[in-house]
Every structure is written in C-alpha cells, then in structure tokens.
Symmetry: C2
Subunit: 225 residues, 2 copies
C-alpha cells in the first residue's frame, strides 16, 4: 500500500538507468528491453528486471519497457519531480569546479549559493553566483529552500560546516572532504573521497600485477560501468 521500500542497492542504480533512458529517448527509442538497458548501463539484465519490478513498474512481456513511462516512474521514485536547491560550502578548487559543473542543472539541481569563510573569496563571483559568508547559511537555507548541502572544504573545517548545516535544518549532505563526519541519525550523508578511490584501485592494480606474475589467487575485474 505504501510506496513499497525500494532496496538501497536499487536506489543507487536507478539514476544510472535514468541516464541511459534519457539517451535512448533522445535517440528516438520508445521501448527498451531489460537486456538492452542492462548492456547500456553495464549491469546484468536480471538486476535490471529486479530493480524495475521493485518500483512496481510495468513492462510488457514480449516487448520490454516503455522508455518515457519508465523515465517518469524512476524520476517520481527518486523524488526528481521536485527541483531541489543545493548549496556548496567551500569554494576552493573542488568547490569551484562543482559550482561550474553543468550536470547538476541538467538533472534538476539548482546551485542556490556558494559559501566560504575566507574574506578574500567572499564577495567574488563564481559561475554567476556571489560567494557569501558561511555565517549566512541559516538565512540562505530558509530563503532559498535549500535541501541538500555539499561540503567541499578542507578536512579540518568539514565537521563544523556539517554541524552548521544540520543546525540550519539541512538533512541531506554530500561530503567531499576527506573526513568522517558525525551527524544525527535523521541526517543522510554520502561521501565521495577522491583519494580513497585511487587507493582502492591501487589494491586491485597490485593484486592483478601479482597474479600476472603467477601469484595465483585473484578473480576478475571489479567495475561494471
């Protein structure tokens, strides 16, 4: 009766399908099979079918899925019918790159504000926005209806920024700082650590190098897409 709880693993793949479906729609395709979708998304077709059936979606046996219907279905499940406002704290290298990144707007996320504490940065313009002081965070969250906070500060500042965000009512945080953040249970936090990704690759690189020398053991690849 309730919108059925979508498994976490499925949630994390839905945006992927959405991207592929948008491409298909752009190419004029009107239907797609789980095989085709799987191929394009870099996953297995069984996974696609399980994932899509989890959101109660309608495919047609013998035919496949209706592309535009599926797009609507997934966007609705992910809450993308609403256009979220985000703000970015930390206007260093990464923060600036994120501010200029077109992909956010394309997918319905509006960068409402850029914040920093550095007086040489506050007041400057980046990507059509004026950098404002972190102290303005509560005001901005309220007036702009910000739902998601992005942390792109140095590690040392990240916890303070997270605390301020939580205090201002933000309950979804994307953390790029290389630091583990403590937040109340009701706050959802995701982290992206660039250096950690490289270290993980290092493990598999090393393992495969050993295997090639006859070290035995290891299996195959990891990635998918």
């Amino acid at each position: 009766m309730n919108p059925r709880p979508v498994p976490d693993a499925t949630v994390s793949r839905l945006p992927l399908y959405l991207r592929v479906l948008a491409e298909l729609a752009g190419a004029g395709e009107t239907t797609v099979s789980s095989d085709e979708l799987a191929e394009a998304a870099g996953v297995t077709s069984a996974k696609v079918r399980k994932d899509l059936s989890a959101l109660g979606s309608y495919g047609t046996r013998g035919i496949g899925y209706d592309v535009s219907q599926l797009i609507d279905e997934i966007r609705s499940t992910l809450g993308l019918t609403e256009h979220w406002s985000i703000l970015i704290a930390g206007v260093g290298n990464l923060g600036q790159a994120l501010a200029r990144y077109k992909g956010f707007a394309e997918r319905g996320f509006r960068v409402a504000a850029l914040l920093d504490v550095d007086p040489t940065k506050v007041g400057t313009h980046v990507a059509d926005l004026t950098v404002r002081h972190l102290d303005e965070l509560p005001d901005i969250v309220r007036t702009e209806g910000v739902a998601i906070g992005v942390i792109a500060t140095p590690a040392a500042a990240a916890q303070d920024v997270a605390d301020r965000m939580v205090g201002a009512g933000i309950r979804s945080i994307l953390n790029f700082a290389p630091a583990s953040l403590a937040v109340p249970e009701a706050v959802t936090i995701r982290k992206v650590d660039l250096a950690i990704e490289l270290q993980i690759l290092s493990y598999y690189e090393q393992r495969d190098a050993l295997r090639d020398l006859g070290g035995g053991s290891g299996a195959g690849a990891i990635g998918g897409s």
Copy 2:
C-alpha cells in the same frame, strides 16, 4: 599461504582506516582499540575487527592495535608502498580541480600528465604541468610508468578515452564522466558520478519528508561517515 583474498567491502574501507590511523599517529597515539577506530571512522567495531583480521593483522588482546604497525600493514595490503603515477584526461573544470588537488600527492599518487584534445588547452600550464595532447597518451604511459588513468572528459568523449587508455596498457581507470564505459574484463574501473550522488540523496530526502508527514514505512539514516 597466498596473501589471502581480502573481501571487496573490506578493501573499500581500508583507506578510511588508514586516514584515521594517520591522524592518530600524528597526534602521538601509539595504540588504538577497535572501538576507537570504529568511532573515528564511522563504522562498527565488529566491522573493524573483521576487516583487520582479514589481512591477518596482529592486534593485542586487552590492548588493541599498534598504530604504526597497522599503518604499515594496510599500506602494504593496498599496494601503497609503491608510488603510483596517474594521468588525467580532460582538463575542464573537474580535470583542473583534480590536477590541483593536494590530497593525491599526500597519499602517494603522482599526477604525471594532463591530457586534452582542445588546441586552446594543449600547451597551457595547470598545477605545474603542461597540458599535452591526448595522442601522446601511449608515449606518456610508457615513459612515465602510468598505472592509473582518470577520465574527466565530457560524457561523449569518455569511451574513446577509455579505449585509448586500455590500448596504451592502463588497467585501472577512475571515471568521472557521466557515462557507462565498456572495458575488457582485465581492466578495473571505478566510477564517481557527482549528479548520481545527488539523485540518491534526493530519494532519501523525499522519503524522509514523506515519513515526517506520517507516511510511515521508512527506516533510519544511510550514511555513516
């Protein structure tokens, strides 16, 4: 007898522990318990113990783990005793930010080259490096001993770049382009899609908003760190 196969989930957490341990070492701590490490890394202590025991590491009952020994152990497991060279393809917003990011060097990754195809970019300088043309990729991989390729191009160019990297002998790729890449099985690929992270957050944001209105269903938070 063989370096025992470390579970993928464990591999993805080891860099996290390493970061925490480095902080502890910097603060002069010589031992750490699984509880303390778990707290600082944002995971459970059982997980920490399972993870560390997977790499055969020695803790001391009643005491905990020796910080510097554990650092060595993890670095060795991850292959971080070697200093890897990486290259970045695509010198747009994100590519430049990555090139300037200090965190890579701090953890032993040397950015050996920046590549692009845009003639207005080739020859310019970014973060002490001269941007070179993508056609030079095979030469650079050979002469610089590049092990990891980072793709920071637009989606449309990503597959071509991946193909070139694979052709040049690179077997580990970190992909920031919003595209699913097909690579041979022997190549390890990881992806980071900034917009996808936001879309995932959108789902939980929406779900929790519904729950707060009495929509029932949902559980707790997701994140950890």
